[in-house]
Symmetry: C2
Subunit: 409 residues, 2 copies
């Protein structure tokens, strides 16, 4: 089940010069399933990443942070599904490092030039031997045109692969962007069991790329939530292969920097929204826009209170305009001086609540009509300032319970 | 569905001298259903209450606060189900006040001597005429022995009525305590669509009773959570009819005060735990004990992160010892300097994780055995201090989605 989401057309995804993707079936958890992906990056590229805020971050995340901080050029990514290598202690760290070393040996690199990514069940030892055994086939498979193939290979409970591309003019050249992501449940701000990999052939100085990946994540993956859980493994990686024919972008706040960042954000937002559309058991895609706050922080707080409320989410699933549940969530969002008599609520174009009470002209059938749609905008006006923010989420269905109750069986 | 919960035996519930309860069928939302309850309190009693922290608090909560602050002796409670009179603006306030006035007229009291309580759907106008029409029958029904009957009449999505009694020696007399509560979904700290009414014949000075109700709520109703939603209507009322033959308790920190408070807390805890056992769709009762924190506040934070995680809750439903989900929740609970390598995790007696990793002796079948139980203790040791705290919650099942998706239909 997914909301308005189709598999990417491989022809729509631009190859990125200097970035090749290869996949194989390594039987990491189940047989006959693409579960191992390598991304091989030519010399001269810049690579930057942002990672989960979960204190219990998984071994591969720790190793990624070390390798990125180490300053050696990153030349390969190694991604497995089926096992998250999280909650695995020192043994997990050793295995993550060993997997990097195995790929590095094959490519004649230093282990610190490889970044590892794992997603799947937690607290199980990473099956290192199977990963090592699968690497030659994955490397042999590597092509610049394999974005759709890689999008499929990184899926876990996803039902549809997620990949988007864009092109943008910057510094007199047209640069390409391609990105893939996975992650269906356990998604919330500060990312999720979310893996995202975006590459461009644009030329970007490493320091600028680091700022760019943080800004891009903040406007996309950090604005989605499925169930409020924050995974131990979330990672977003941005690669600039520096192959396009333009002068390098050395400042974020430059014409080229702004154009590239806007295009990257656009691709990242599409990937992030695709994750919500493919949320575990999702039948509806919901945008929650909160306006009129004192700060965008408090707008987010309200938006997440609504987005995480199981009562609101089940009402969406049932197409029930039980709008009081939304107002109740606004009320407990934690804004201590909130004045309920200033709050307005809209469902798409329908003005549902005015100054904290039911709008006199509101008719249940109008609310019902909107609630039956598969895409719904909830707009809350707080009436206390001019800040705003938006998050995207989905409903809570029987299917969510089934998927998560049966995940390991 | 409920976890080890049976309807109270009316014979086990002590009548409280000076407190009479009466119920009737007023067809507030559905016909042929006890939905209107009055509690009539003889002159000379003390009454105190605590209420929802939701900023969007319902009209009856606002009126309760006014009437309790007004200083006139509270002589009656008026409780309806079927309609929460929340999100109803000024019109809602007027209707709550009018319902108090109607009962006051019948009892020759001032309206400010009546406290109103409403639970049910939100944003619908309170059907005042039906309430008024039902009052004579409810008043005529009032008896000291009607605790079980009232427990039934205040139910909404509850499947089992909740009532407990206790007796305790204080100041040379034996005093009785009886309490009822309702509330199955929308339960979380700072209370829920939770209504609780506890009465004792003990003699307690009003100021002491106010401190007592706050302390009792903190140790009971504020430690339970079903779905993380905080209702607009939560109320806990404590009545001391002052009829027992002992000198009044004038200090919380006295032998009599401590004995009474312990007994009240015991009754309140049983009521609160009964609400969780009857949580919407609950199939398991889960105690989450967090130890070794720097403060009890941070222990609660971790306990609630676990208790609110849909991934953890569905794993409990599935009897799946997917313990990584619990560790992940510990990691995102918001303790910024948490050291994952100091964390131990137990499921009942089974030592699952040691220093942040899987315990070497842990076998999946041991975890499975505990997860199959209908009562489970999750114990997390943070290894950073000596504070602790405990919350009680339930699992997330298909039934939860069904109940909340169908509630209004």
């Amino acid at each position: 089940m997914s909301v308005h989401l189709t598999a990417p057309d491989p022809a729509s995804l631009h190859p990125i010069a200097g970035v090749r993707l290869g996949v194989t079936e390594a039987a990491i958890r189940k047989a006959a399933r693409k579960d191992l992906t390598v991304v091989l990056i030519d010399e001269g590229a810049s690579v930057a990443g942002v990672f989960t805020q979960n204190r219990f971050c998984a071994a591969p995340v720790q190793v990624c942070r070390e390798h990125l901080a180490g300053g050696q050029a990153i030349r390969a990514l190694l991604i497995n599904t089926g096992n998250a290598n999280a909650g695995t202690g020192n043994e997990g760290l050793m295995r993550a490092r060993a997997s990097c070393a195995a790929l590095a040996r094959q490519l004649s690199l230093a282990p610190a030039q490889v970044l590892p990514f794992s997603t799947g069940v937690i607290m199980e030892p990473l099956p290192l031997a199977r990963i090592e055994a699968g690497l030659p086939a994955a490397v042999a498979d590597a092509r610049e045109g394999h974005w759709a193939r890689a999008a499929e290979a990184i899926m876990t409970t996803d039902t549809v692969p997620k990949a988007f591309s864009a092109q943008v003019a910057t510094g007199g050249a047209t640069v390409s962007i391609s990105g893939i992501a996975k992650g269906a449940g356990m998604i919330r701000p500060n990312m999720a069991t979310m893996l995202g990999f975006i590459a461009t052939d644009a030329c970007v100085a490493p320091a600028v790329l680091r700022d760019m990946v943080a800004a891009v994540a903040e406007a996309s993956f950090n604005r989605i939530t499925v169930d409020g859980d924050t995974s131990t493994n979330d990672s977003l990686i941005l690669i600039a292969s520096n192959r396009a024919a333009h002068a390098p972008i050395t400042a974020l706040d430059s014409a080229g920097g702004r154009a590239l960042q806007a295009a990257l954000t656009d691709v990242a937002k599409k990937l992030a929204q695709a994750i919500v559309r493919d949320g575990e058991g999702a039948t509806k895609f919901i945008e929650i826009a909160v306006e009129g706050g004192k700060t965008s922080q408090e707008c987010r707080q309200v938006a997440y209170a609504i987005a995480h409320s199981p009562l609101v989410k089940t009402a969406f699933f049932a197409s029930d305009p039980n709008l009081g549940r939304i107002l109740a969530a606004v009320g407990y969002a934690g804004i201590h001086d909130l004045d309920p008599t200033k709050i307005d609520l809209y469902l798409d174009d329908v003005h549902v609540a005015m100054r904290g009470g039911r709008h006199p002209a509101y008719r249940e059938e109008d609310g019902q009509r909107v609630m039956k749609q598969s895409e719904i905008v909830v707009r809350v006006v707080l009436g206390r300032g001019s800040a705003s923010d938006t998050v995207w989420t989905c409903d809570l269905s029987h299917e969510y319970v089934s998927i998560n109750a049966d995940y390991r069986s």
